[in-house]
């Protein structure tokens, strides 16, 4: 446990500025949305389902941002390569699995920070509108966090393939290209599922259902497992 404490401490200390920034952004978004709901000028907003729909959609945005951004590495991978730490790790008594486990733990800690803000927002939303967005927010949050973990694993694996300072440019281009390729793939899948003819209200109802919540939990768990395997393999891989 002492080992993980050390490794997670290192990861958190390195990325704390990034996560503070993401946390502040999420808080700002959540507070702004709540202000729209509770300010006197917004009294005209009806709380029936049709009228709340735009706010409902915007609320999902908080889940998307929290999920995607909460699991990104905050620049740790490339910093590790630049400083030589990525190579030094091989001289330390730490296995690839332990490194991957510590990285995953750090991601889960930062995700739980984002989750707290999202849950607080869901409670405040219910208090202001009487409608519950809890399941849909958490489900979307988990789906995006899972997708974010997959992106992070791909980026991390690509960056760690090039551990040399001289290969930095190649590494950054390749890592970012991999992430963009996955974003394009996600966009294609989303546009196939959510065609213009699809009724948004029905989609939102499905997103707010327990079935979708279960799908989200399973997807997140599978992504976390995939992340662990990919990152531990990238740590176990030796230089050519």
């Amino acid at each position: 446990m002492k080992l993980y404490k050390s490794l997670v401490y290192r990861e958190l200390k390195l990325s704390r500025k990034y996560y503070v920034l993401i946390g502040m952004m999420l808080l700002f978004l959540a507070v702004s949305l709540m202000l729209v709901l509770i300010l006197p000028s917004a009294e005209s907003i009806s709380t029936d389902e049709e009228a709340v729909l735009p706010l409902d959609l915007v609320s999902i945005g908080i889940g998307i941002i929290g999920g995607f951004m909460g699991v990104r590495d905050g620049g740790n991978y490339s910093m590790d390569v630049k400083t030589g730490w990525a190579r030094t790790v091989y001289a330390l008594p730490v296995t690839g699995k332990q490194m991957a486990c510590a990285t995953l733990m750090q991601r889960l800690i930062s995700l739980s920070g984002a989750a707290v803000i999202i849950i607080a927002y869901a409670i405040a939303f219910r208090a202001a509108t009487g409608l519950s967005v809890f399941i849909q927010l958490i489900s979307v949050f988990l789906i995006c966090a899972g997708a974010g973990l997959i992106l992070d694993a791909v980026y991390g694996a690509v960056v760690r393939m090039f551990r040399d300072k001289r290969q930095q440019k190649k590494m950054i281009v390749a890592g970012n290209a991999a992430v963009i390729a996955i974003f394009i793939l996600i966009e294609k899948v989303v546009s196939l599922v959510f065609k213009p003819s699809v009724d948004v209200t029905k989609v939102l109802k499905f997103v707010n259902s327990p079935v979708f919540a279960v799908i989200a939990i399973v997807f997140f768990a599978a992504s976390a497992l995939l992340y662990f395997v990919a990152i531990s393999k990238s740590y176990e891989r030796r230089e050519p």
């Binding site: 490794l7 401490y9 200390k13 030094t88 001289a91 330390l92 008594p93 730490v94 030796r238 230089e239």
Partner: protein
């Protein structure tokens, strides 16, 4: 804990790159000894160190550290060794205290009191960010980290390169102190042979991926000599005695690898003692035989 005679055993190790091959190298570092690993830049020192630390996979051969297999027992070995690289691999935003928090979880024998003693001795501020350290301070911090977990084997890759003579001398002194109990060993790669001449018990010369010499430093220094003669005299010297010949306007300097034998055979010539620097230089030009 395993009993072992040699802290490092490298047998027939080959590592192939597109433009370089570490070619079937073998040498041992006995327990309690400082081994100087000498070679010019690109000779294969870093590749050897990366191979023994399993940073890179080898194509063939066997490496044992502290009596254990370098791959099978990797984690057990790495708890008992310390590595110092030529550049500090710690992030600039950390401070010395952060490094202690990171390493204390990794090494079962990490001792914070020893670490603090080294920080005080090196006059390193515990709370100052590493990014604000000078090169000498960074190297001292790396050494403080390496010496604070009771490592039995210290591996250093060009650790003193780029440091001023005062800092280098201070660091060499610390290493000598560290080895006093006879249970610890050091492999120190460097192309600054004066450092190794001061502290090494044994030396291994590597050039173009091949081990040229390996053994007790004093024996190697004793056996090699620089025979000074006229250019005309070179023809009379047995080729088997020569490592290589350096010519200049005034004559020739011939490196011989058996000083005693050469002093008997060539009584009319003066043979000066050779330094590690000389030995490295003459061996590098061994294929040319004659150079200036």
């Amino acid at each position: 804990m395993t009993e072992y005679e040699n802290a490092i055993e490298i047998k027939g190790v080959t590592k192939r790159y597109d433009d370089f091959t570490l070619d079937n190298i073998s040498f041992d570092v006995p327990k309690g000894c400082i081994m100087g690993f000498i070679g010019q830049n690109g000779a294969g020192k870093t590749t050897t160190i990366r191979s023994l630390l399993h940073i890179t996979d080898i194509n063939s051969g066997e490496i044992r550290l502290l009596g254990l297999d370098h791959i099978k027992d990797e984690t057990a070995i790495k708890k008992r060794i310390a590595v110092v690289f030529d550049e500090l691999p710690f992030h600039d935003m950390f401070n010395a205290r952060d490094m202690a928090r990171i390493f204390e979880g990794m090494y079962p024998e990490w001792d914070n009191s020893i670490y603090t003693q080294y920080l005080e001795r090196f006059q390193l501020p515990a709370k100052k960010k590493i990014g604000q350290f000078s090169k000498g301070m960074k190297m001292k911090l790396q050494i403080a980290c390496a010496l604070s977990h009771n490592a039995e084997l210290l591996v250093m890759d060009e650790a003193t390169t780029g440091l001023d003579p005062v800092v280098r001398d201070e660091i060499l002194h610390i290493f000598q102190e560290y080895l006093q109990n006879g249970e610890r060993s050091v492999l120190m790669s460097s192309h600054i042979t004066s450092d190794l001449e001061k502290i090494a018990d044994m030396v291994t010369f590597i050039d173009r991926g091949k081990i040229l010499l390996s053994g007790c430093k004093d024996d190697i220094l004793e056996k090699h000599g620089i025979l000074k003669c006229d250019k005309e005299k070179i023809a009379e010297i047995d080729a088997a005695d020569i490592v290589s010949i350096r010519t200049n306007n005034f004559g020739a300097e011939v490196m011989v690898h058996d000083c005693e034998n050469a002093s008997c055979k060539y009584r009319d010539c003066v043979i000066d003692p050779a330094s590690l620097d000389d030995i490295m230089l003459y061996y590098v030009y061994r294929d040319k035989k004659e150079w200036s």
